[in-house]
Amino acid sequence: MNELKIGTYTFTSRLILGTGKFGNIKTMVESIRRSGTQMVTVALRRFDPEQADQDLFSALSSIEGLTLMPNTSGASTAEEAVRAARISRELSGSPFIKVEIHPNPQHLMPDPIETYEACRILASEGFLVMPYVPADPVLAKRLEDVGCAPVMPLGSAIGSGQGIATSEMIRLIIRESGIPVIVDAGLRSPSEACAAMEMGCEAVLVNSAIAAAANPPEMAEAFAGAVKAGHRAREAGIMPKSGSAVATSPLTSFLGTAS
């Protein structure tokens, strides 16, 4: 009941981590461990002989039970993203791919047209496609129709820490969606992750909020707790809002002195 299902895979953790912006690999690995995450995203780049000792794959492989979700960051077209995905699958040995196509470095907003096309191709090739998308219910439904595993609408701009600026659109996506909805990008604090889960998101993807914290491993654990709390609250059934006061104590008169 409490497992996150993506395709035929199940995860007990509903917190997915990005691996960027950590000061060093040791801090990143400790943060991943403390978060309890079972899935992290990584990027694909050219091998740099001068950084041959920075072996991210080995560092991540040392963490038991961790699934890699490579991303296609750096791609600005569907064609580039598909190419990156195919190469990444060879490296990761995992069918998961985060489709991320943002052609404008000024705002990093995902290109919905190129994203749709890349997802369509990759889903047909058997990838478990996890697209990073604008918070658009129509696009989300179209991506579900072409076989995406979840959809990952943005809360706000990547790395901005502006929180869930798109909450009403995300509520619509959740309401209409037959696949998991994962908020990706923009979260700043654990309370926002908790709110996303209470809203009905199946998971959240966090990077900057943890990596850029003063104490990343501690923040990772804080996010883990918030995600669990939000999910449990959702499962427990959050009480409806009322437009007026609803008494919690009996309103009968004190000591029976009034009518």
Binding site: L44, R45, D55, L56, F57, P70, N71, I87, L91, S208
Partner: protein, 67 residues
């Protein structure tokens, strides 16, 4: 000698060099590296048998940190 392009840079290699030779030369043999030659992925089991040709375009790719 033959000239091949590795990650956008032209380099000289002995004739008959294999993909494995290039990985060793670049110090990439110990890492998990994806190899793409002229847009074709070369899987690990084939790297010691694929011989590179003049003007081949080789891309060596690894995972790096990202969100």
């Amino acid at each position: 000698m033959i000239t091949i392009t590795i990650n956008g840079e032209k380099r000289e290699f002995d004739e008959g060099s294999t993909v494995s030779d290039v990985l060793n030369n670049m110090g990439a043999e110990k890492q998990r590296v994806a190899v793409v030659v002229n847009e074709n992925i070369i899987y690990p089991e084939n790297r010691s048998s694929v011989v590179l040709q003049e003007n081949d375009d080789v891309e060596l790719l690894v995972f790096v940190e990202g969100g």
